[in-house]
């Protein structure tokens, strides 16, 4: 079994390598190369899915595999699914970057990073995979090849490198005092460290919170996110918001829970209140954005805040809700970004008040997905938000439940500003050549919207997964 698990990382790496090789031949026409690349990337993803499907039954039955995917494999599955869908979405994109073969190569490097972080059982490996992830994201953000995209990428580069330095620092301290970086052994060491030298443990916690906080963009550290997410090409924005934020949330849950519940309950209020601040600031800032992708990016901040609040509350119920919200937000937000890309392309602007309805199917999906984010039943967002709020009230954090629910009223405001723009009658413009929505672009959106409805109607699917994942972390 362990061989297969290594393949999960090796396949995307190999695909990335092969894709970068396709840039070498000089005399082959571009169209042939493009076709070759499409075949390569789709088959690479396909193989990845197959491997995952092979591992899934064992992991879902609660069996811990060597390299431990454990209960987290559903999260990995969701990530791979979203990456796959976003890949389809990017097939019709024929930018310069794509022609050079860089786009696909870095795309797969990023996938390798995501899979690696989820799979690894070693803290230093986690750091390495995070670096792979970040570096490929720097490049992918610039794929739009505009001046702002370089600026946004640079901003992310500076902040992310600082955060990696802090992460490495924390890893160093853990290694120095525990003598091992394997999570199983480190957990033992860290538990004894809590008793012997709590100050040092606080330092480790602070460093980890700040460094992962930059990557998850909790509130005083969120500044890179709106630029990077709104300027990146649409499929990359979808993955950035949908998956990559979740990867660092995964790392947060994993590493914080290593220190044991006693220490965790000591520090968790800090996480909870930071999360609440993130919800409030993200929502308020989303309210005034004029650019649809920027608004979605700020909305991501507020949703991440909800998840972090759930983690900070720390009861089983709240953690379960938070993990379910991780899955839900991954599906909903990536779907929304893909929708926004199509809608903005059709109305030839990204300004919210000037958007047009365009293809009705995409508009309906946008409505469904945004209702999910707002937390309207019977969609999945409602279930997870409700569970987090319920957990908050049970743990005597009623104020946090209030903030989350108030934020959903405001989010109703900013999402429906977009939706009502579809319905405003506008002056007919001169006939411009139609923006063609390829099926590769619209189908991923439909799939994500349908998944949201299914998870909302049958939430036990998601809740059981979240429960399993919690048991794996040692809850």
């Amino acid at each position: 079994m362990s061989g297969i698990l290594i393949l999960l990382v090796a396949v995307p790496l190999m695909t990335a390598f092969l894709l970068s090789v396709t840039a070498l031949p000089q005399k082959v026409p571009h169209t042939t190369l493009m076709k070759l690349r499409n075949v390569l990337s789709v088959s690479g993803m396909g193989v990845l899915c197959v491997i995952l499907a092979v591992c899934a039954p064992a992991a879902l039955s609660g069996h811990v595999l060597t390299y431990t995917v454990g209960g987290w494999s559903p999260f990995l599955g969701v990530s791979v699914l979203v990456c796959f869908l976003a890949l389809f979405y990017s097939i019709p994109h024929m930018g310069y970057m794509r022609r050079m073969g860089k786009y696909d190569a870095f795309y797969f490097l990023m996938v390798a990073g995501i899979v690696g972080v989820f799979l690894t059982r070693d803290i230093f490996n986690m750091y390495v995979f995070f670096e792979i992830l970040s570096i490929s994201v720097f490049v992918l953000i610039t794929a739009g090849e505009k001046k702002e995209s370089y600026k946004a990428s640079l901003k992310y580069l500076i902040l992310a490198s600082l955060s990696s330095a802090l992460f490495l620092f924390a890893v160093g301290i853990i290694y120095a005092s525990c003598g091992s970086l394997n999570m199983d052994y480190a957990a033992e060491g860290m538990k004894s460290m809590v008793e012997e030298n709590p100050e040092l443990m606080y330092v480790v916690f602070t460093l980890l919170l700040v460094s992962l906080g930059v990557k998850t963009s909790i509130v005083p550290l969120h500044f890179w996110l709106p630029d990077a997410h709104s300027i990146a090409p649409t499929p990359i924005s979808a993955i950035l918001s949908g998956i990559i934020l979740k990867v660092s949330i995964y790392a947060m849950v994993r590493l914080f829970l290593l220190c044991g519940w006693q220490f965790y309950s000591e520090i968790s209020p800090i996480i909870a209140y930071t999360g609440a601040a993130t919800v409030a600031v993200g929502t308020l800032l989303a309210l005034v954005q004029k650019d649809i992708k920027r608004m979605l990016a700020y909305s991501s901040i507020s949703q991440i805040g909800i998840i972090v609040t759930g983690i900070g509350i720390g009861t089983d119920l709240a953690l379960q809700g938070a993990l379910f919200h991780v899955v839900n937000h991954a599906l909903m937000k990536s779907g929304l970004f893909l929708c926004a890309g199509i809608i903005a392309g059709q109305s030839r602007t990204r300004e919210i008040s000037k958007l047009q309805m365009g293809a009705p199917g995409v508009a309906v999906s946008f409505v469904v997905l945004s209702l999910g984010i707002i937390g309207v039943p019977p969609l999945n967002g409602f279930v997870s938000k409700f569970i987090i709020c319920y957990g908050a009230v049970q743990a005597q954090y009623s104020g946090l439940a209030f903030i989350i629910l108030a934020a959903s009223v405001l989010s109703c405001g900013y999402y429906f500003r977009v939706i009502q723009a579809f319905f405003k009658k506008k002056k007919r413009r001169k006939k411009t050549p139609m923006y063609r929505v390829s099926r590769f672009m619209s189908f991923p959106v439909y799939i994500l919207a349908v998944l949201c409805v299914i998870l909302g109607l049958f939430p036990l699917i998601g809740l059981q997964i979240a429960d399993l994942a919690l048991k794996m972390v040692g809850g």
């Binding site: 890179w224 005034v288 309207v376 709020c389 629910l405 319905f423 405003k424 036990l460 809740l463």
Partner: protein
């Protein structure tokens, strides 16, 4: 009879999907709402209350169904009004309109039948969103604006209810629940969405909003407030204020649908008052008035819809003399006006006099008389300025399908005026109140005289000829929204800086956390 209940709900929901694909969308919609109404009628002869649970696969929530007399009456009213709305909307072609109507009917029936709070909330929120799309159906600038206000206030109300469910057991929870229900019911301080949404929506939808949807708020208060152990006595002043303020705002409006909307605020104040008093007589009066108001207010909205359809005019000062051109509409509107004013032998008279006799304190009685007189005045004005006087406007012929609901509704208004027992026997409450006694005559004469006096005084002083521009409450809510937005803009400007600062914030946050933990 579980099967009938499930059928009554499932058929409209399935039908809402079917209207999107089948070629005969209107007939499908008619069939589904008609069947739903028919099946509900069948339930009348079943023994009540009815109780059962539907379990869903992979879902921890169970739908507990509970039907007693009151919920059955409300469900009948809902499905009847929706059926009429489908009949009436023959001029609307879009598939999504019918689909949304049917979906809303299914959801509202589920709200009425649901036994548990959380399930109730789930359907309430869903129906709020569906109704939003009905309100903005016209897609005009006005409709979109009104829809936004409707949406934010109603979702806000629903969120209050959710928060109340979370905090159930505390006094704060009870307060929040009542507040959420008041928003839904469009009661006085939170009535602003109602006045905007009604004129902007298509006429059939405004009839549904007033006739059916706002009543959901009062219904839920009646059904679920006991779960919270809420003390409702503080609602009496709220109800009295919305009665009086609503009717006087109605008196001075110039938009015909806005007149009806404000009158809904005042009528719901009356219903709320009866609900809060909770004596047997008042509750039975409330249930009767529930149905009666649904019927005559829907009738009035549909009449005004015909007027607007025929003339394309909504301003009361530009209308007039339509009685000769639209005799059926004029007659139906007259019946509606007499009903709402509480003139015998129409249905409004019966329920209003039962409620009036259930009131105890003189303050309430005085407020009630003033409200009734104001209603008389505003509907005298509505009828006189629309149908009497000089004729001017050209009139488009209204189709037969729009006239049929008017006839049905006015027939019911008369029928329930003579036989209120039809409704009352279902509720299980019986009233020992002889409304046809001789004491009724001076009461009616008093209110009618007072109302007509109000009207003529208003006409002489020209108060009711111009639309006033006082909307303090509306401005308060808009101001709240604007100040949040202003604050966010400040925050946005303040937080957008150079990347150096961002790095500095990061280090500062690190240091801050470190100090926080070490002390």
């Amino acid at each position: 009879m579980d099967v009938f209940v499930i059928l009554a709900v499932v058929i409209p929901v399935l039908g809402s999907g079917a209207t999107l694909v089948l070629p005969h969308k209107r007939w499908t919609a008619l069939f589904c709402s008609g069947v739903s109404f028919g099946v509900l009628c069948r339930l009348i002869i079943e023994p009540l209350p009815l109780e059962f649970i539907i379990r869903l696969p992979m879902n921890p929530l169970h739908i507990g169904v509970f039907i007693d007399g009151f919920s059955l009456i409300f469900a009948l009213l809902l499905s009847f009004l929706f059926f009429l709305a489908v009949v009436y909307s023959s001029y609307i072609e879009a598939r999504r309109y019918y689909s949304l109507l049917l979906l809303d009917l299914g959801l509202l029936l589920l709200i009425v039948f649901s036994q548990e709070l959380l399930i109730f909330y789930v359907f309430l929120e869903m129906s709020t969103i569906v109704t939003y799309f009905l309100v903005i159906y016209n897609e005009t600038e006005e409709a979109v604006k009104a829809g936004f206000k409707y949406l934010i206030m109603n979702v806000g109300g629903a969120i209050l209810i959710l928060l109340a469910i979370l905090l159930k057991g505390s006094s704060l929870g009870a307060l929040l629940f009542v507040a959420g229900c008041l928003v839904k019911a469009g009661s006085f301080p939170v009535h602003v969405w109602l006045a905007d949404a009604h004129p902007a929506a298509p006429s059939a939808v405004s009839a549904l909003l007033s006739g059916a949807l706002v009543k959901v708020g009062v219904y839920s208060l009646f059904r679920f407030a006991p779960h919270f152990g809420a003390d409702l006595s503080w609602l009496i002043p709220v109800a009295l204020t919305s009665m009086v303020i609503g009717v006087f705002l109605a008196l001075v409006q110039s938009d015909v649908k806005r007149i009806l909307a404000y009158s809904t605020v005042s009528q719901l104040g009356i219903v709320l008052l009866g609900m809060v008093l909770q004596s047997d007589a008042s509750v039975s009066g409330v249930m009767l008035h529930f149905v009666n108001h649904g019927l005559f207010k829907a009738l009035l909205f549909l009449c005004m819809g015909c007027v607007i359809y025929a003339t394309g005019e909504r301003n009361i000062h530009h209308l007039g003399g339509l009685h000769s051109k639209m005799p059926v509409t004029a007659a139906a509107c007259l019946i509606g006006c007499l009903s709402i004013s509480g003139i015998p032998p129409f249905n409004g008279f019966v329920s209003k006099s039962i409620l009036f006799h259930a009131l105890e304190s003189p303050v309430m009685k005085a407020a009630f008389v003033i409200t009734s007189a104001g209603t008389v005045a505003s509907f005298t004005r509505l009828f006189r300025h629309t149908f009497l006087g000089k004729s001017g406007a050209k009139v488009k012929r209204i189709p037969r399908s729009m006239r049929l609901p008017l006839l049905l509704l006015s027939g019911l208004c008369i029928l329930l005026g003579f036989f209120p027992g039809i409704v009352l026997s279902l509720t299980g409450y019986t009233v020992e109140c002889d409304v046809w006694s001789s004491s009724a005559v001076p009461e009616v004469l008093l209110t009618a005289g007072l109302g007509i006096a109000f009207y003529f005084v208003g006409l002489k002083t020209k108060v009711i000829l111009e639309t006033p521009s006082f909307s303090i409450v509306d401005r308060f809510f808009c101001g709240c929204g604007k100040s949040i937005e202003y604050f966010s803009e400040l925050l946005d400007r303040w937080l957008t800086q150079d990347v150096n600062y961002y790095a500095a914030y990061m280090i500062l946050f690190l240091v801050f956390l470190f100090f926080l933990l070490s002390f």
